[in-house]
Amino acid sequence: MTLELFLLLAAALFAVGLYGALSQQSVVMVMMGLEVMVAGVIVAAAAFWYFLAPDRPDGQVLVLVVVSAMTVEMAMGFAVVTLLFRASDADTTDAAAELRR
């Protein structure tokens, strides 16, 4: 267990999430991609805390904030998707782009 290993895990998660967020059409799937990216951030923050500065709680607080942010993102995301769905019967990003015009 080294910092590098954990960071590699974080990087892998982040990249997978990025791929998902970019390649998926459905808004809900894009949200899932974002979630995976945030999971990578969580791992990285925790690893930095443990391996670099365990005597200071900042890393933990950061993780806590990130987890909360994730929940917020999810809740708002669902609300937006629901509204979108109701308004235009669409759940894909391409269709949402059309709404802008």
Binding site: F14, S23, V28, A46, W49, Y50, M70, D91
Partner: protein, 174 residues
Amino acid sequence: MVPTVLFWLFAVVAVGSAVAVFRVDSMARATYALALSFVAVGASLLLLNLAYLGVVTILMMVMEMAVMAVFMIMFMMNPAGLMPMSMLHNQRAALVLSGGVFAALAAGALLVEWPERRGTVPDDPTRAAGDAVMGSKMLVMMGIGAVLFTTVVAALVLAAARSRYDRGPAGERP
């Protein structure tokens, strides 16, 4: 030794199921693959002596995924993945970009000269975090609490125009 083996186990599960999220047809499976990925992430946090954060991550994420599954199936075509179809766009660009990002991040992780470790892990990291949150960073916590609450209410008001469960968006769809 044991922690290293466990770490690899969790890492493989986390990344593997994260990939599975975007590979499987069935929405239910995708959602629960993501949940599994988060459980593995939480478990790897446990390895870092972060019992509270690890368990809370598992708790929050499993709950989120359970609700997520409801929405997934509500809005997606073909929720059970019984019909083969592709819901992808600009896949190649996404692959290239995320591959590049991974390479850059990995290179950074391996090449950067990380500073020496300062201090030791406290006996009870949970207490340390609690002190931090409740002590000097009380404001942070209150802020988070307020934001969370507002979001939940806002989301529900937006989503549930006339919901049967008054507050809950669930229970609507098979």
